[in-house]
């Protein structure tokens, strides 16, 4: 008995019930506040309606006796009708049966049956029913008449009541809710019911305090041999999570910070489909603080929780809740194929860093397979640099370029002993030897021929577009402090310092003129520089040198170390005696080759670089496809004991110092940890850890995958290419990018914003433009470079632009203009009044105003732009391209066109259109589409600037341009 009572008490005091009681109090307070507010809002309005109701009630009372009479009459008539109706229905059912009998009898007439007699029997029943029906209807009419009478008596009151209620609707709703939760407002019966429903045992039926759960059939939890749907009970305590009223309530009742994106039925991630643990992880079925595996975000919070909630880790639950700073990891489950995941900057940053630093070159990550090697092609390295430079660079790349992505393999915590250094130097030496098998071909002999004016070169570097992907920053202290996605765009290519200490002017010149010649797959585009421009730029780039690096001692090999390394590797494959005898048979060259091969394989250089002979080698790192789900005991903490035993702490530590878990270990050199040090900043590490945590085994239902809502694979591929080629370094795409604009006096002179690009241009024009860019915006110095992409890749990019602007068609019929319509003529007049040719080219015809306001060639419009988009553009240019100088054309309204003299001001056709904006815009558009002239005016513009220069750019801008 005692144990049973104890059980009830214990059950009654479940954590969640305590919270629910507290929340109920909170809810009552909140609803009361709301009620007061609602009543306040209708305070004045309701008075009139209440008076009306009182009046109606008074007159209703006067008719009371009349009503009573009518009601007693009604009861009587209802009784009569009921009986008549019953008789009628009874007879009708008999008729139905009789009908069947009649039909069958007539159908199968037997001998001696008289059809007339059968008919007669049937008819008798029909008549009976008819009589009864008449009686019934008569009684019904009487009853209905009395009902109407009563309704009329009550009518006035009812109308007044309805009116008052419609005013009080919002308040009534709140009041009703209050009556459900506030015991003080309940009727006695409800009060008893409210107490009884939560009593022990009885609470199995319909308790108020109960586990709130949601079953998520599309989100599975893997229990080895079966996949079980997740069940989330988080709402049992987080009661205000989807209610915006509790933004300032204390935990666990606080509202979710982003209801637009999560939980609510209008958001993309509804509670019913996604629950809580699909993003936050943790044990959704738990109902107390510890058992749901809450995870503290910091040691302080851990200590606080331990004290306040008796919190401890649940060792047997493999997927504890993610600390808040890593929650974005879960986005990846459904958003795998997206190039940039919106609202998940940290995760996107991590994914970007993985690509840029080539993590997936060494570590296989199935959902994020390496699209290209992160480092340059080394097949022709001997044309670019010399052997000495290579060896020094491998040993310590940061000493040459402080922020290079090439990670440091040497001088790390597990290989800095003198013996290690000797060994490493030998390894480096042999690797350099391997890369220079064909001898050194780089020479600075002819450099003078390729060096122009460095000052002009700097100017070109600043404006022509290099800064879309590159920086030149010799001083590490001047680098941007924030490590974010925007700054990553700037450092898409290397920081171009110290080229003078690295390579020859000839190589730089050749590279600038045609990057794909040296490295077929490079992402570096061709900017179509003239010879002179290229020389100037070369001179500028070569002007940066690193004397310290040049003077550093070159790397030497030690024969003793060479033998030792070779023997070490041989021992791994052969018995001791054979290893030694094999070593004995090698000459020096053999040994160097052997050690070079082993070292390249050991360090996995081919993970990031194309090295001839290693094209098909497998990546050397641990596979990370499910790293986020890897059990903690599979992570080697070594002798590091003061580290928190969590996977994210381990990942963080590994990224901070990749060799740390070798500390205290006496591993032979071949077994040492070898992941290089990328010198990531803390922000980058957090982003990377988030991303590693996102590589999980969790299964998500097909219909939740974001990619299933994009019908075309090319869309994501296009977005990936846009990211891969850093288009957002220059252009704003999806509201992100365009950082190159910082280098120009106004966004007007930076590469265009590609907002609405898919709806804007005709796909076939865009395709041709990509292949052979021409000048669209005559006053830009920055150039659209020529990228060497395949047709498939261009199609994917075009398709993805179209997709995001709801433009599904690849082929469209030409837009024909009828030049005889009023609309067209009105458009022509508007064009004339608007003076479009002040800024716009009309084929070879130059604009009337100066170069600083030049705008695209209108003769190109019919080939380039979508007719519908042109209307949208003219309607409101600022909404499509914020900051544009294009003004919306002034269109007269109806009133203006009705004033005297309108015909002379606006012309008869505009007046005829009568102020209809859309028609006028269509007319203007039609006129623009009929402008004839040369479409590609690249040469004309180039000639102009060759003669006059770009000086205008530094002019004070003239903002008052009126139509």
């Amino acid at each position: 008995m005692v144990s049973i009572i104890w059980m009830f008490i214990d059950d009654n005091d479940d954590d969640f019930k305590v919270y629910q009681r507290k929340f109920r109090q909170l809810e009552i307070e909140n609803e009361e506040k709301k009620l007061i507010a609602e009543l306040e809002a209708v305070k004045d309005e309701r008075v009139g309606y209440e008076e009306k109701l009182t009046g109606a009630q008074t007159s209703f009372k006067a008719k009371q006796s009349q009503l009573l009479d009518a009601e007693s009459l009604l009861v009587e008539s209802q009784a009569k009708f009921y009986k008549a109706n019953m008789n009628f229905l009874n007879q009708k059912s008999i008729l139905d049966a009789e009908k069947f009998n009649y039909e069958t009898a007539m159908l199968h007439l037997h001998e001696g049956d008289d059809p007339a007699e059968i008919e007669q029997t049937y008819q008798v029943v029909i008549d009976k029913v008819y009589t009864l029906r008449l009686i019934k209807e008569e009684k019904e009419a009487v009853m209905l008449a009395i009902e109407d009478q009563i309704k009329e008596i009550k009518f006035e009151t009812k109308i007044a009541e309805d009116e008052l209620n419609s005013v009080l609707k919002a308040a009534n709703l709140v009041d009703r809710k209050l009556k459900l939760i506030d015991r003080r407002k309940m009727s006695l019966a409800n009060k008893i019911g409210d107490i009884v429903r939560d009593l022990p045992i009885l609470d199995f039926m319909a308790p108020y305090f109960k586990v709130e759960q949601v079953v998520l059939p599309n989100i599975k939890y893997n229990v080895n041999f079966a996949s079980v749907p997740e069940v989330d009970r988080c709402k049992s305590c987080h009661l205000g999570i989807d209610n915006p009223d509790y933004k300032n309530a204390e935990q666990p009742f606080t509202t979710h910070p982003n209801l637009d994106l999560y939980l609510t039925s209008s958001s993309k991630h509804t509670y019913e489909d996604f629950g809580c643990t699909s993003c936050h992880a943790g044990r959704g079925r738990g109902t107390d603080f510890t058992s749901v595996t809450h995870t503290p975000s910091s040691p302080e919070q851990r200590a606080e929780w331990e004290e306040k909630y008796g919190w401890h880790e649940m060792h047997h639950w493999l997927k504890p809740m993610l600390p808040v700073n890593y929650t974005e990891a879960s986005c990846f489950k459904c958003h795998q194929d997206e190039a940039n995941i919106t609202h998940a900057d940290k995760l996107t940053m991590g994914l970007t860093l993985i690509e840029k630093n080539g993590c997936n070159g060494c570590h296989t990550i199935k959902p994020l397979e390496s699209r290209r090697k992160a480092g340059p092609d080394l097949a022709r390295i001997n044309e670019k640099v010399d052997r000495k430079w290579v060896a020094k660079w491998i040993k310590d790349p940061k000493s040459f370029r402080h922020n290079t992505r090439m990670p440091s393999f040497f001088g790390q915590s597990n290989n800095s002993e003198p013996d290690d250094i000797k060994r490493n130097d030998t390894e480096i030496y042999t690797i350099a030897e391997y890369l220079f098998q064909d001898g050194e071909k780089m020479s600075r002999k002819n450099d003078r021929k390729y060096l122009g004016n460095a000052e002009k070169g700097q100017e070109i570097f600043d404006v022509v577009g290099c800064r879309g992907c590159h920086i030149i920053e010799p001083d590490p202290n001047n680098l941007p402090e924030d490590h974010n996605l925007t700054n990553l765009l700037k450092e898409h290519g290397p920081n171009l310092i110290n080229l003078g200490s690295k390579t020859s002017a000839q190589w730089v010149y050749d590279w600038l003129k045609d990057p794909n010649e040296y490295w077929h797959d490079t992402r570096m585009p061709n900017l179509r520089l003239s010879d002179e421009e290229a020389k100037n730029l070369t001179a500028y780039l070569m002007s940066f040198t690193n004397p310290e690096f040049e003077e550093a001692e070159s790397i030497q090999m030690s024969d003793e170390a060479l033998d030792k390394i070779a023997l070490g590797w041989l021992r791994k494959m052969y018995p001791e005696m054979e290893a030694k005898s094999r070593l004995g048979k090698m000459d020096l060259d053999n040994k160097i080759d052997y050690v070079a091969d082993k070292s390249i394989r050991y360090y996995g250089c081919f993970g990031c670089h194309n090295i001839p002979g290693y094209e098909k080698d497998k990546p050397i790192g641990t596979e990370l496809t499910f790293e986020g789900s890897k059990p903690i005991n599979k992570l080697d903490f070594g002798y590091i004991h003061d580290l928190e035993k969590t996977n994210y702490a381990w990942f963080t530590q590994k990224l901070e110092n990749p060799r740390i878990f070798d500390k205290g270990k006496a591993s032979p050199p071949e077994d040492k940890l070898r992941m290089p040090n990328f010198n990531f900043s803390p922000e980058e590490i957090e982003a990377l850890v988030t991303t590693i945590l996102s590589f999980s085994e969790d299964e998500v239902g097909e219909n939740l995958l974001a990619s299933n809502y994009v019908r075309d694979d090319m869309v994501y591929e296009g977005r990936k290419l846009i990211k891969e080629y850093n288009c957002q370094g220059c252009h704003i795409i999806d509201g992100f990018g365009g950082q190159i604009a910082e280098n120009y006096s106004s966004p007007e002179y930076a590469p265009p914003n590609l907002n609405t690009e898919g709806a804007k241009v005709q796909p076939d024009w865009l395709f041709n433009f990509f292949l052979e860019p021409s000048i669209i915006r005559p006053n830009l110095q920055v150039r659209m470079p020529t990228f060497k992409l395949t047709d498939e890749e261009w199609n994917a990019i075009i398709r993805s632009f179209q997709y995001y602007d709801n433009q599904p068609l690849a082929f469209e019929s030409d837009f024909h203009v009828n030049t005889s319509t009023t609309k067209y003529r009105a458009g022509k007049k508007l064009e004339e009044l608007g003076a479009c040719n002040n800024c716009h080219f009309y084929g070879k015809e130059f604009p009337k105003q100066g170069a600083q306001t030049w705008a695209p060639n209108l003769a190109l419009t019919k080939e380039r732009l979508q007719p519908k988009w042109v209307i949208d553009w003219m309607e409101d240019p600022q909404s499509i391209m914020p900051g544009t100088k294009m003004p919306a054309p002034f269109l007269p309204d109806k009133e203006l066109l009705n004033t005297p003299g309108a015909v002379s001001d606006w012309g008869e056709h505009v007046v005829k259109v009568g102020g209809d904006r859309e028609t006028m815009l269509e007319g203007l558009r039609d006129y623009i589409y009929s402008i004839k002239g040369k479409t590609d005016i690249t040469n004309e513009i180039q000639q102009y600037f060759e003669k006059n220069g770009y000086e205008f750019e530094f002019d004070e801008e003239d903002e008052d341009e009126d139509w």
Binding site: A79, K83, L89, N90, K99, T104
Partner: protein, 371 residues
């Protein structure tokens, strides 16, 4: 032949067949001296002889043979679902016949002052091991052979996947629940589907505690517990087995009743305008509307039900069944009455329906409470 078939069709109408069975039952299993006298007088006891068995067997077989060659009954009879019912009819009758035959032999011996046959019968006692186990093993094997052959010859009656949008007409329960389904025609689901099955099970468990007659233990006998025998056989044979047979063979589309040789015409319409007791009283009798108060409306029904179930046993205990009451004591008596009266409520309700189109005695659809 068609005359015979029409006769069968006519006789098998539930009103007639049920009435005939009910009337004939006390003569076949006489619960009192008077019936016993008539039984002897008309020679009904001869049913329980070999000759009687022969005639019973012949007449049932005759019925099924006609049925087999009848185009309509053949359809029902040869359905794989219904074959167990035919076997059941034979086996039930055979077992009852066998029991009754032994009982009559013993009754005659007891009348002569002799001991029953089983008293000193060495043949009736066998050793469990090995004899009984052997017999059981052989029976088991034979039974398995039978089931295997059966399943080979007659495929399992599988139908298309269930589809709530296209239910079969008629929708029949498995054969062993057809008795319950038949009850559903007369009672609300909570009674026919819940109360009655529970009462049947509990009631059968209670039989040994209510019938404490020591006589007739361990041997066949009819005379020594003829009332109990009659009640049980009526409940078992008429209210359960017979209803299964009706449900199987005589219920067609729309759960309408069809004679065995009748075509199951889905268009058949039978007037179903059932009236509640309260409507009879208030509307038809008193010419008033139904009272708004539920309790007032159903007062007559409540009085009837309470009177039948609780007051009547009390009165009977003072009068007609005084001796029974004294013999049984209050607990046993009231239990017997509760189960017995509930059982007899079924035929009573059936007749009320047939005779007066009575729908419910207490009708409170507002509370889902209808009796």
């Amino acid at each position: 032949m068609s005359y015979i078939k029409n006769l069968f069709d006519f006789l098998s109408a539930p009103t007639i067949s049920f009435t005939l069975l009910t009337v004939a039952f006390p003569f076949i299993f006489p619960p009192s001296d008077w019936f016993d006298k008539k039984n002897k007088q008309w020679g009904i006891y001869k049913l329980w002889t070999n000759k009687g068995a022969f005639w019973i067997f012949m007449s049932i077989t005759f019925f099924f043979v006609i049925g087999y060659f009848d185009p309509y009954f053949n359809l029902t009879m040869t359905k794989p679902d219904n074959i167990p019912i035919i076997l059941m009819i034979y086996s039930m009758i055979f077992v009852v016949w066998l029991g009754m035959k032994q009982a009559y032999i013993n009754d005659a011996r007891l009348d002569r002052g002799e001991k029953p046959e089983e008293w000193n019968d060495p043949d009736d006692k066998v050793l469990v091991w090995p004899d009984l186990v052997y017999i059981e093993l052989i029976a088991l094997i034979l039974f398995m052979v039978l089931l295997i052959v059966w399943s080979i010859l007659i495929g399992a009656p599988l139908e298309e996947p269930a589809n709530p949008a296209a239910t079969p007409n008629p929708s029949k329960a498995p054969w062993y629940f057809l008795g319950l389904q038949e009850m559903l025609v007369y009672f609300d689901p909570w009674i026919a589907g819940i109360i009655f099955p529970i009462f049947i099970i509990v009631g059968m468990m209670a039989i040994p505690y209510m019938d404490i007659n020591k006589k007739g233990e361990g041997y066949y006998s009819f005379k020594e517990r003829r009332v109990g025998f009659f009640i049980f056989m009526y409940g078992w044979f008429v209210l359960w087995v017979f209803l299964i047979v009706v449900g199987t063979f005589f219920r067609g589309p729309n759960w309408n009743f069809f004679g065995p040789f009748e075509w199951w015409d889905p268009h058949k319409v039978v007037p179903l305008s059932n009236v509640n007791l309260s409507e009879y009283v208030w509307v038809k009798l008193l010419n008033k509307g139904l009272p708004t108060s539920i309790l007032a409306r159903e007062a007559v029904g409540f009085v009837t039900v309470i009177g039948y179930l609780f007051v009547m046993p009390l009165l009977l205990a003072k009068t007609k069944l005084k001796s029974l009451f004294e013999h049984y004591g209050p607990v046993r008596y009231s239990t017997l009455m509760l189960f017995g009266l509930t059982m007899f409520a079924l035929p009573i309700k059936m007749y009320l329906r047939w005779l007066f189109n009575l729908k419910y005695i207490i009708a409170i659809p507002e509370w889902f409470f209808n009796i």
